[in-house]
Structure formats: C-alpha cells, structure tokens
Symmetry: C2
Subunit: 500 residues, 2 copies
C-alpha cells in the first residue's frame, strides 16, 4: 500500500459509510419525531440490521489497514486530525463483534420506546429494566474498551475529549461553592418577580407560529434546515445543508418551546457553519458535545434571554397571545424569563440553577459507574438528590428520573457537557462583548453578524481542535470557569437586587 492507494481506499469507504449514516440518521430522526409507535418493534429490528451492515463496512480490513497506514504519515494538520479521530473511532468499534454492536443498538432503540411509554404513563417501572440493562452493558463495554481507564472517565472523554472526573470534580466544586449560596438567597425571594403569566394556556398551534418568527429572526433557513416536534428536543444534521432541529410544546409554559428551539438552533448553526473544505474529512464534522452545548446554550441564554433579543420578537408574541401578554411589558417579560427558582425540570431551568441539575446527574452517574449506588433505588435517589440540593421533590417520575431521554440512549457522561458548555459559552460571550455591540445588533435584528462571528471564531473549525484549543484561538485564553461564575453572579444579583 502506498499513500495514494490508502487515501483512495479511505475516501471510497467513507463515501459508503456516510451514505449508511445518512439513511440511519434520517430513519432515526423519523423514529424520534413522527413514526407511529406500533411500527417500532419491526423498525428497530430493521435498523439494527443496517447497523450491522455499517459495522461490516467500518471494520472491513481494507478500511482498517488504510486508516492504520495513514495514521503513521504526516498529511498536514487537517488530514492528520481527521485520521486521528477516525483511528480513535475505529479502535472502539473493533472492540466489539457485529452481533454485540447490533444487540447494543437494538437495546437502545427498545429502551427509547420503553422510556417514551414510561414517561407518558408516569411509571418508572416500565423503563427500569431497560435502564438497568443499558447500565450493565455500558459498564462492560467501557471496561472492554480500555481496561486501564476508569469507565466513567472514559465515558466523560467520549463526550468531551480530555475531560475526566478529576476535572469535572474541580469544576462542580466551584459551582457548588460559588452558586449554591446565591441560589439559596434568591429562593427566599420567591415572589420578587411575577412570572405567572408565562404559565397560562398557550395552544401549541399558536406557539408553532412563533417558532417560525424565531427561526426567521435567527436566520435559520428552511433552505438548509427543518424543524420538527418530538418528545425530547434534539438536533441532528444529515449534512451541512440539511440540519434538523426539533422542539416540544408545553401548553402551560410558553418558555419551554421557545428556549428549547433557540437552543437547538445553536446546535444547528454549528453544524451548518463548519468549513465547507471539511466535507472531505468526515470526522471533522463530529464536534465534541461540550463545544456543541457551548453553542446551543450560547444561543439559548447568552443571547436568547436578553431584552435586545426580544425587542423585535416580543411584539409578535404579544400579538399571538394578547389575552395572556397584552398587558405585560417587554421588561416584565424579560425579567420573568430570567426568574431563578429551584425547579424540577432541567430543560426548563433558569441559568443559575441549571448547573445544579447537571451536578445531580453527574453525581449519580459517577456513583453508578463507581458501583457506589443501589441501582434498585435510582428513581428515589434522583428525588433525594433534588431535595438535597434544590429542596424540592418530584411528585411524578415524569418530572423526576424520567424527564430526560439521555439514559435511554446509554448517553452516560453526556450531561456534564451541558454545564461545561454553558461555562465555555460564558467565556466566548465575554470576548464577544469586547468585539461586538451585541445588544445593538440584536435590537436591529442583525443576527447574522453574530452568527458570522461565531462561524469565524468557533464554528468553522468543526472538530479540528479540542475545546481548549478553540477557546485559546477565540478568546486568547484556555478554559476558565470563572467567567461563568462571574456572569451568573452579576446577572442574578442585579436581577434580584442583591448587593455585591
């Protein structure tokens, strides 16, 4: 084999692999958005067969040899990184047989069905056996992938290269130390801001109209993107110009769909704005979860919860719901969507309490993989941990352990990236404020100036660099969680009239 042959093989296999991923992802999006439930058993079985076909391709000796050969060469920064990521992915795939891969994939899909059913029926027992099976399988798989590494460290690294328990422990200690006292203080000022009007009746059909207004404002175009509805919002991109975001409506909470859509649009832009040159480097499109969440949380919070963001949008919302918002000023609306409150649902949480929701999940996952937990009591432990940190407890499992989809997909180690991403976002926001008149642009509806900035400084790199490397390029500094702490403290002390 010479370099030319190896590159040719690599390219040919990647074309086919991308084709499989396209049809699998499309069917997956369909499965999670519109597919009728009675077709699930058949569909999931068929999907696992195609997963098996993909496995055969990904582990074909020719492809494997090409990657191993290329990984020893110096092909320039871009190709080197692509091959390095390909090799890392390959090594994980090769640890398992085709049958094990298909079995795991089928277990996850069936687990999703059980979770969906359990959540809608408010019955954790429906989901429990699936969850315990996935935990068991994940422990074995992580152990098998790297017997020398702690399984949860490996899981954390999967979602954000370079992260581990030690680093997250330090991060969450800071969160606890700096934010919990403020959260407790604010919790005593429960009625300081009236946000009751957010929880009146908002019919989904009318909310859907406002979703279009948001997408138009943000510049999320139907030429290259589409929004569907789902049980638990997500984004999946079939290509740079085929970005699928989703939202979910809560007819008694107008903020739920709004901020989840803005969040997903952040993910969507990231996928859309990767350098077109990287189309030839498939692994450079697989950005890390922490960086991805930094973009989505950036849209949702650092931009989406500002008064300037709603300057043009809020009148449209008022017009759709005059009976609920006709007498609510923009200022009152913005104060309301920033209320901090110890609450149960992570995706609806305010910025200040949000990292505590993540801390709870991090602690539980850590204990699960350190075998320090009674798995038969997971649902109760969830509730107890909420009581410990936020002082509240869910009445129903759908607002407790069943609220998030992630564990049904064995995404253990994903949650921490939400808090990490929020903190990364704060650092980017701090720098962007130096470079742009953010409020001025938002007020005038010049959102493209902001997405252009993010493209140039962050998004176009794709997965070429680690999050720390990107932060260094974009902000001149490596990751520093202090920006996040400062941002939250300033914002919420101001909002609640607490002296600094």
């Amino acid at each position: 084999m010479n370099q030319k042959e190896a590159l040719k093989t690599y390219k040919e296999f990647n074309e086919k692999i991308k084709a499989y991923i396209l049809v699998l992802s499309t069917t997956d999006i369909d499965r999670l958005t519109v597919a009728p439930r009675k077709g699930s058993a058949y569909r999931n079985k068929m999907l696992s067969i195609i997963e098996g076909e993909l496995y055969e391709l990904q582990t074909d000796k020719k492809y494997v040899d090409a990657i191993l050969y290329l990984s020893k060469l110096d092909l320039g920064e871009t190709a080197n990184r692509d091959i390095a990521l390909a090799k890392k992915s390959l090594e994980n795939i090769l640890k398992f047989t085709k049958e094990e891969t298909m079995e795991f994939s089928l277990a996850m899909m069936n687990s999703y069905e059980a979770w969906y059913d359990a959540k809608n029926k408010n019955d954790y027992r429906i989901f429990e056996p699936h969850l315990l099976k996935l935990i068991e399988m994940s422990k074995i798989r992580l152990q098998k992938r790297d017997p020398k590494m702690h399984p949860y460290d490996l899981a954390l690294d999967d979602f954000e290269e370079g992260m581990n328990r030690k680093k997250y422990d330090r991060f969450f200690s800071l969160i606890k130390k700096e934010l919990l006292p403020l959260i407790r203080k604010i919790d005593k000022k429960k009625d300081y801001i009236d946000d009751s009007f957010l929880y009146l009746y908002y019919p989904a059909e009318k909310q859907a109209i406002f979703m279009k207004d948001i997408m138009k404002y943000i510049g999320f175009s139907s030429d290259w993107g589409y929004m569907a509805t789902t049980e638990h919002p997500f984004t999946d991109s079939l290509s740079r110009n085929d970005v699928r975001v989703t939202t979910a409506y809560d007819e008694h909470n107008i903020t739920s769909a709004i901020f989840s859509l803005i969040h997903e649009c952040g993910h969507g832009f990231y996928d859309h704005q990767v350098d077109p040159k990287f189309d030839a480097y498939p692994y450079l499109h697989q950005m890390s979860s922490g960086m991805h969440e930094s973009q989505s949380r950036f849209f949702e919070n650092y931009l989406g919860r500002r008064k300037s963001f709603f300057k043009l949008l809020y009148p449209k919302l008022q017009k759709l719901f005059p009976e609920n918002l006709g007498n609510v000023s923009l200022d009152d609306f913005i104060r309301a969507v920033n209320v901090s409150r110890c609450s149960l649902i992570r995706t609806d949480a305010d910025e200040l309490t949000y990292p505590i929701h993540i801390l709870i999940r991090y602690e539980l996952e850590r204990e699960i993989f350190e075998n320090k937990i009674d798995l038969g009591r997971l649902d109760q432990l969830w509730d107890e941990r909420y009581e410990k940190y936020l002082g509240i407890k869910a009445d129903k499992a759908s607002e407790g352990i069943l609220q998030d989809v992630h564990w049904s997909g064995a995404s253990f180690g994903y949650f921490p990236t939400y808090a990490l991403g929020s903190a990364i976002g704060a650092q980017i926001f701090h720098k962007m404020q130096e470079d742009l008149d953010i409020d001025g642009l938002l007020e005038k509806g010049k959102f493209s100036r902001i997405t252009d900035y993010l493209k140039k400084n962050i998004q176009h790199y794709g997965a070429l660099y680690t999050f720390n490397q990107i932060l260094l390029k974009a902000t001149g500094k490596e990751f520093d969680p202090q920006y996040y702490i400062d941002y939250l403290k300033n914002k919420y002390m101001d909002l609640y009239g607490i002296k600094k």
Copy 2:
C-alpha cells in the same frame, strides 16, 4: 441445495433486503415531505449509494439461486405466489448492472428536484431535460427487459399485471363513447350548481385541524399511521403498522386536501389490512397499482363524496370556517363537491371528467413509447390534448404538464391505473351496496364496518391474486367496466337533472 436450505437463504436475504427498503423508504418519505432542498444533491448521491448496496444484496448469487431453486417447487399457493413475484422482480433487476441501477435511481431523484423547482417557478424548461432523459432511459430499459414485448405494454404490465395497450384501448374507447357526450351536455349547464364557496380563503392551519377529524372518522390511527404534507400527495408504508399518508393544502380550494387525504387513507388502509400471515412473504405486500387505486378512489369517491359520509363531519368543517360555510347546508355542500366541470388539475377533478384526464395521459404516454410524438413539444401537446377533450387550456405549465409528479419518477404506465382503479372500485361498490347499508353505516360513523368489509373481501389478500381474481372472489364476476359507466351516468344525470 435442498428446500430447507433454500428457504433459509431466501428468508435471511429477505430480512436484510427489507431492512434496506425500510431505511431507503424512510429517507424517501423524508425527502418528499420535509427535507431542505439545499441538502438534495448530497442526499440523493448518498441514497443512490445505498441503492447500489441493495442491488448487491438482491443480485447475490446465493439469493438468486435460492429463488430459482424454489420457483421450481410446489410450496403451496401462498409461497408459490411470493416466489413467483420474487422471481419476476429478480429477472428485471438482473437485466441491469449496479452502475446502471444507481444511475437511474439518481436520475429520478434529481429529476424530482427539477420538477419541484420547475413547478414552483412555473417553468417547464427546468424540468424538460430531466424528463427527456428519463423517457430515453426508460425506453432503453424496457426494451432491454423484454425485447419481444412492446415497451409500453411492459410498462403497463408493471403497474397492473395482465394489462396492456389492447385492453386499455378497449377500456378508454368505452369511456370516450359513453362519457364524453354526457360531459359535453353538463358543460353547457355550468351554473346549474353553485360551488363558489369552496374556493374562498381557507387557511392551511385550520384545514389541518379538519384533517384530524377526517382521520378520526375513518379510523386512521396515529398508533399505526402518520400524515405529513408534501408537494404531491402519496402514501408509503414502512410496514403494516407504519403507514405514511400525505396531503397538500390549497388555501383557495377546501376540497383539495380533504379528498386527497381521504384518497391516501384508502391506500393506507390497504397496506395496513394485509393478512398478518403474509409478513413472512415480502412480495405479497407489493400490491398492484390498479388494485391500490381501486381502494383509494373507493374511499375518495364512492364513500367520500356521499352525503352520509359528511353527516357527522360537515358540522365540524362549518365550525372551523363559519365565515365561508356557515350558511351552506350539507346538501348544498355535497352538490358542490360533486360538481362536474372541465378543469385542468387531475387530482382536483370530479369523478365524471376524471377518466378523461387519464385518457389524455394514456394517449400521450402511448405515443411517447410508440415514437409517434415530437418530444420537444410535449408541454404543448399536453395543452392541445386538454383542449381537444375538455375544451380548456392551461395558462401556466404548473397547471399543465408540470402538475403531476409521476413522470419525474419515470412512472410511465402508472396513470391508467387510476381510471382502472376507479372502474374496479365501482364494481366493488355495486357489490358492497348489496351486502351493507352503506349510508346507514356512514351516517352513524360506523366506518370500521366498511373497512372490515374491505379487509375481508379485498385487502387481506395483499398481492396473493391478480385484480381479476380478487374481483371474482369479492364480486362473483371478473372485471366489467360497465359498472363504472352506469354509476357515473346515473349519478351525474340525477345530479344535473338530465333525463335518462
């Protein structure tokens, strides 16, 4: 090879083939309903790669040998028919190389994009080169498949086993002779029935609410089915319990979405009600187009345009659009949705003029494949033929040659099955009237009694029999188009007060 081994191989390959078809069909449905257009080029290329993978599987020597071996055995009626259909399908596939198959598939997908674009921009020139290429390719392919058969006869047989030009000529002669004089007579009574209120402004969002009412009435359940919107309505089923129907809204024609949805639900029920035992016989799920259209046209017209069908539904429609329909009685509404008029759009045509729309397409297709036509003037020939038979001419290509999606998918020979299906439907309706109190059931909302009847007498057979065999079982007679002629003459002479 022995029978057991051959059956095992056949089953194993079928499982995989079904998995490929599931992901391809899902991606296809996505492509035709929600997928952003800028992703098309990439998506279509990826899809054609998967088509190539499917080809490899379908032409694998082990699978081919198993089918050929099994086709010589007597495995009982059901398996014999399944294998016979598998063999027929295989013989066609084997006539082409993998590259030819992928090329044809890609040409069709790209042709769809061009058609979509052309229709929306009202510019036939965008679509023309694609159409001419598909015609050329189809001629070559049909010739290659069976050099002894006339290409158009083969195309007609593809969509309805046993049909050919001779039989359709006879059928359409009868249509012309019996129906054209009546159409002309009615055309002179243009203002006999007022239907202007159907063409007021009906916002799509509100129409969408009524779609749910229709599906509920019909018993089309979201447990096993889903409705999406598209440019040109179709139905595709991923399995018996995963049926996808689509509709398209015209905000200035309330009947368009209503009757197209009822039509597609007819297709949907057929797919849903095939005998579950046939799940082990994949080719028995591939019902012929004529039979399929008999079920959809049955829903749309023989049931959907009756007063009894709207007895419970119409008040809901009135409530949604009081400004348009508040003062229109059910009787007036029903008369209006049955108005016969020489019009341009096939899918919106009334029952009486409908077969003339098909006749025009049949004549054009026949002449295309008999090389008797100037292909550079296809769009004009379309208009001229409309003028000849219906006395009207399209102002815009989108209401002329661009109105239908079929040719963009090289579905030459499909159109005639719409008229054939309508005629088959009339024969089934005649028998059903003897067996059931149709109006009594519809008025009381007992639609399931009707779908049960169709299941028992028609639909559960799947593709086990030809349309003539099914008609013989269901009605005691082979196909007789006189039922259709009689039904239309009686209905429209009554409606327009014309003496018999």
